[in-house]
């Protein structure tokens, strides 16, 4: 119910939203939880396992019960906490984990079955028959137990990610955080102040108290103004710091537009990476529930949360409230409710010798031992001494004390330290370098202590930055009594006592785990699922481990905590992966001929990050094969043009460039004449092939290396490593020039004729023989020409600065077409190279040696080179290794498939008898049948034999003949001629 005169909501602005299809009206500033409580709605959810009716437990992001689905269709977000979701006009939320209406959930049958559904129930019960698990048990259990649904469609929401940098990051905008931020900013530091809720102030907005003689909320307003006046503080509200990482890195989730109707120009969430020189953790504390019997009914919540609903939202969660306290702090709830005119039935305090702080009924030495009310609390039973009695009440505000929110201090591996006097875990000193905990997350439980620790933490951050403490920041006066707390983790009695509300873990489950030998806290956690729900046990872990400690006869520090890991709150995958979807998944690299190729209707295929044309469909062609066959024939008979700019181009210069290449290649390059190119083979130091390509010598001290498209980056890093790390004695410099040059292959019998149309000075075979290279003028532009061939035809590669690439490509293709040729794509390029037995990374896939691909003779004996020693290991030179062969079907129509396995004729097709595999296949229009390359035991020794190719995956079996890998023009006359 609403309480007049309280709360920070704007009562002049009613807001209507939908909850399970019903219209509910609250006020601007309400959360879904406060608006529903304001209307007297206590039932908001069904529990995970037993489908128990549940209401809110908390008023913050640690809420375990009131999880909702927000939004509709593919944009629906499940497991949103009703205590965090602010209402806006048009908001639609649904309760989850139910069949039928929330108040008549058909799955509440599970609640009647509770004696059977204890910890380990699934492990013990659904074991046989094994096949039933996937088909029957798991789907049924998943349907019955669970949290929100996920939509099967991609979310249309588009989140942001962003980076921020600051001198001091202050995490939490309560009294400690505000003082720390003010101190740091006045000391000249650039500050980011991150606050999870929409308003700065923290508990100061929840508790009616005074600072410097004025209501705390007014003091907060003044401080916020002062912060703004410094011009150094970036206040980020609705922002939760989710994790602490190395070297002052922090992750943070900002709910940019979750509190307003979705709009196209606003991302719902933004995930921040914040780099801070220093940080102050002022994350506050989480109040503990008490595990007493039947403590989960709607209307039972935390005492501090009741004050938050009252003072922040102007709502009393009940008309007749009972408080179950173990500490002085919870008595405030009674005082403030009475101040607001709400009836307090009694304060039941587990301690004796307590004095009431107001005119309410105080029951000392009391414990709540039972509750009634199917869909909401109606009555409680308590025991005080030998007396047992009942009270009629609709809200029970409980408090077992407060747990400092030490989470972020544990993210780098530190464990919190148990303070036996204060009965709490505190941050380990120096747990996160550069992070100073302050306030109640550090165990300071009075407002005055929080303010003081905040001030000191601000000064400490300044000192670490080498800045003096500022003048004019004084410590305000505030209440200085932290109160006393008795440790009461659970209450014995009849009926279930919940620890983890979100995962339906009770005291019985933890005791059972201990009895069955799961004595380690990590084992108990996994056996019972304690602390594994979206709230990660923020309210329940400490109670559970205290119970485990008692059940195993150990102390709390010996039992220890489970591991605190990021993120502190659930983070949507969409926010964490913002931009990394669709085109944002990876950079796209496009060649200069990209537009021209697409303009000709070429389907593009990805080659690493590059896009390359697959084939160029001609009128009347209906399949890619028709286009591919035509393009192959075109290159063999006339001339074709293909963009080869994606190959890595590395410029290598210096007096020792030749010696350097001798060291990275297996063969010699220092002896290469200026104006000539040579094929080179490169090994890894372990003796296996890394890459291959041609390298041309443009001058005495100047080479240009080409690498394969796939390995360009790897080769570049490798060359730098060799130059800097292994051979710093060599005077050589290396730079990638891949994107500076557009390079096109012009291949076919008419290639020279075509080129002479674009070159300012015509070439002939004498001045430009096979493997020649040099500078040329192309329509007046200085370019480079290489007579190299990857097709086996008379061919050239012509390179111009990238800005001329588009124009040159279009010109070359037009001229090729005039000669009866044209553009060709990757499919044809692949067939052409397989016909010639040229290898790509399909063959040099990382596990093959030079010996395996028949290039052992390229390993120079005259010099050392990377991989030489390892390549000479006897095991790598055995004839029985899988070695490169050509494969052709025995019957002309036989089908070959890449990835298929090879077997001897007559052998069963079993793994132990496997003889090798197929790496590349294609249909050769030149030969009229399919051809393939592969690796076969004893390889070349088997030439002429018939074997069997088996593709278990595609169900293909073909008799094939082992042949030389060079299918076409074996003596290479066409390329040299």
């Amino acid at each position: 119910m609403r309480v007049d005169g309280r709360g920070l909501i704007d009562r002049s602005q009613p807001v209507t939203f939908k909850f399970d299809g019903r219209s509910v009206t609250g006020y601007k500033g309400d959360t879904v939880a406060s608006a529903l409580l304001g209307k007297g709605v206590r039932l908001m959810a069904r529990s995970f396992k037993y489908h128990r009716p549940r209401g809110v437990l908390t008023a913050g992001s640690e809420e375990p019960n009131a999880l909702l689905e927000v939004g509709q269709g593919a944009a629906m977000t499940p497991n949103t906490r009703a205590t965090v979701q602010e209402i806006y006009s048009g908001l639609t939320v649904q309760s989850q984990n139910r069949i039928g209406p929330l108040d008549r959930d058909l799955l509440s049958i599970n609640d009647a079955l509770w004696p059977f559904l204890s910890a380990g129930f699934y492990y013990k019960t659904f074991m046989w028959p094994r096949a039933f698990w996937e088909k029957l048990y798991e789907p049924v259990i998943r349907r019955a137990a669970g949290l929100g649904r996920i939509t099967r469609d991609a979310s249309p929401e588009r989140h942001e990610k962003a980076f921020a940098f600051c001198d001091v990051l202050v995490i939490g905008g309560g009294p400690a955080g505000l003082m720390a931020a003010l101190t740091a900013a006045k000391g000249g530091a650039d500050v980011i102040l991150a606050e999870e809720t929409p308003e700065l102030g923290g508990r100061l907005l929840s508790d009616g108290q005074e600072i410097d003689g004025t209501p705390a909320a007014y003091w907060v307003e003044d401080i916020v103004k002062e912060l703004q006046a410094t011009g150094r503080v970036r206040v980020m509200t609705r922002t939760t710091v989710t994790g602490a990482y190395d070297d002052g890195s922090y992750g943070a989730l900002e709910r940019v537009a979750r509190h307003v109707a979705p709009a196209d120009d606003l991302p719902p969430e933004c995930f921040w990476r914040i780099r801070a020189r220093q940080a102050v953790l002022a994350a506050g504390a989480h109040e503990r529930p008490i595990a007493f019997p039947m403590n989960d009914r709607p209307g039972i919540m935390l005492a501090g949360a009741v004050r938050t609903y009252l003072n922040r939202y102007g709502v009393s969660p009940g008309r007749n409230v009972t408080i179950f306290a173990t500490n002085d702090d919870a008595h405030r709830t009674a005082v403030e409710l009475m101040d607001a005119g709400v009836k307090v039935a009694a304060v039941i305090d587990s301690r004796t010798g307590v004095t009431a702080k107001g005119d309410y009924r105080l029951i000392e030495g009391g414990q709540v031992i039972g509750t009634k009310g199917r869909q909401g609390l109606r009555q409680i039973t308590y025991r005080a001494g030998s007396r047992t009695d009942t009270l009629i009440t609709d809200c029970l505000a409980m408090s077992g004390g407060w747990n400092p929110a030490v989470h972020l201090t544990c993210h780098l591996g530190a464990r919190p330290v148990w303070d036996a006097d204060a009965k709490m875990f505190l941050p380990a000193p120096g747990a996160v370098p550069g992070l100073t905990p302050a306030g109640s997350c550090n165990g300071a439980m009075s407002t005055a202590a929080c303010l003081s620790e905040g001030l000191e933490a601000g000064k400490a951050a300044l000192a670490a930055l080498g800045r003096p403490a500022p003048q004019g920041v004084s410590l305000p006066e505030a209440e200085d009594d932290p109160g006393r707390t008795q440790a009461l983790w659970y209450v014995e009695g009849k009926g279930r006592a919940w620890l983890d509300f979100a995962n339906d873990v009770t005291t019985k489950d933890v005791k059972l785990a201990a009895a069955e030998g799961y004595a380690s806290v990590e084992h108990m956690k996994r056996y019972t699922t304690q602390g594994m729900a979206p709230d990660q046990g923020k309210s329940s872990n400490i109670n559970a481990l205290a119970l485990l400690a008692d059940s195993t006869g150990r102390g709390i520090p010996e039992t220890g905590t489970t591991t605190y890991r990021p993120p502190f709150i659930p983070v949507t995958m969409g926010a964490m992966g913002a931009f990394a979807e669709g085109h944002g998944f990876a950079p796209e690299r496009r060649t200069t001929s990209d537009a021209a190729a697409r303009g000709r209707g070429a389907p593009m295929i990805e080659a690493g990050l590059w896009f390359r044309p697959s084939y160029f469909p001609a009128p009347g062609e209906t399949t890619w094969r028709e286009a591919c066959d035509r393009e192959v024939a075109m290159v063999r008979n006339a001339v074709g043009v293909v963009d080869v700019s994606t190959l890595g181009k590395i410029d290598i210069q210096g007096p020792d460039a030749g010696a350097f290449l001798d060291f990275v290649y297996t063969n010699m390059f220092s002896t290469l004449k200026v104006g000539r190119a040579r094929y080179g083979l490169m090994l890894r130091e372990d003796g296996h092939v890394m890459d291959d390509g041609t390298t041309a010598r443009l001058g005495d001290h100047h080479y240009v290396m080409t690498t394969t498209t796939a390995a360009a980056g790897q080769v570049m890093a490798h060359l730098e490593f060799v130059a800097q790390g292994l051979r710093p004695d060599l005077d050589v410099r290396i730079i990638s020039a891949t994107e500076q040059w557009a390079q096109f292959s012009v291949a076919g019998p008419l290639s020279r004729e075509l080129l002479n149309g674009v070159l300012d000075q015509p070439i002939d075979d004498e001045s430009f023989p096979f493997m020649a290279c040099g500078a040329v003028k192309v329509h007046g532009v200085t370019g480079r020409l290489f007579r190299i061939s990857f097709s086996g035809e008379h061919a050239y590669e012509i390179a111009v600065p990238a800005r001329y690439g588009d124009a040159l490509y279009r010109d070359l293709v037009a001229r090729a077409e005039a000669l009866g040729g044209g553009a060709y794509g990757m499919e044809a390029l692949n067939v052409l190279r397989i016909e010639k037995g040229f290898i790509t990374h399909s063959e040099i896939h990382g596990r093959v040696t030079a010996h395996d691909i028949g290039m052992q003779r390229m390993l120079s004996q005259k010099k050392d080179f990377v991989g030489k020693a390892a390549a000479a290991r006897p095991g790598l030179l055995e004839p029985g290794r899988e070695r490169l062969v050509g494969l052709r079907p025995v019957e002309a129509e036989g089908r070959l498939t890449a990835g298929a396995r090879l077997f001897k004729e007559g052998d069963p097709h079993k793994r132990v008898l496997d003889q090798g595999y197929v790496t590349s296949v294609g249909y050769s229009p030149t030969l009229g049948h399919m051809i393939g390359l592969g690796f076969l035991r004893h390889g070349p020794e088997c030439e002429g034999q018939e074997i069997v190719m088996v593709d278990h995956l595609r169900k293909v079996k073909t008799r094939v003949q082992v042949v030389n890998p060079v299918f076409f023009d074996p003596d290479g006359g066409r390329a040299r001629g």
Partner: protein
Amino acid sequence: MLIPCPLCGARDSREFTPKGHASYLDRPAEDAPPQAWNDYLHLRENPAGDTRELWFHGAGCGAWLVVERNTVSHAVTGARLAREVRDAG
């Protein structure tokens, strides 16, 4: 994690790629016995604590660095150019 590149200053570790222990700089001679090559290629210390590793500043200046860091605390205590480490012997 920040790596203090001697050429660029402290930079985010995502600009770098690691290669492994710095002993990879100590390449045996061509005619070293097979055991020496085997040790060089395949045997690495994997310390829980201080270590020296090779990192490549591929998204930066292209320098190979010898980074001193602690595998337990992730603290980076220094970085030198691999070229200078080699020259220093």
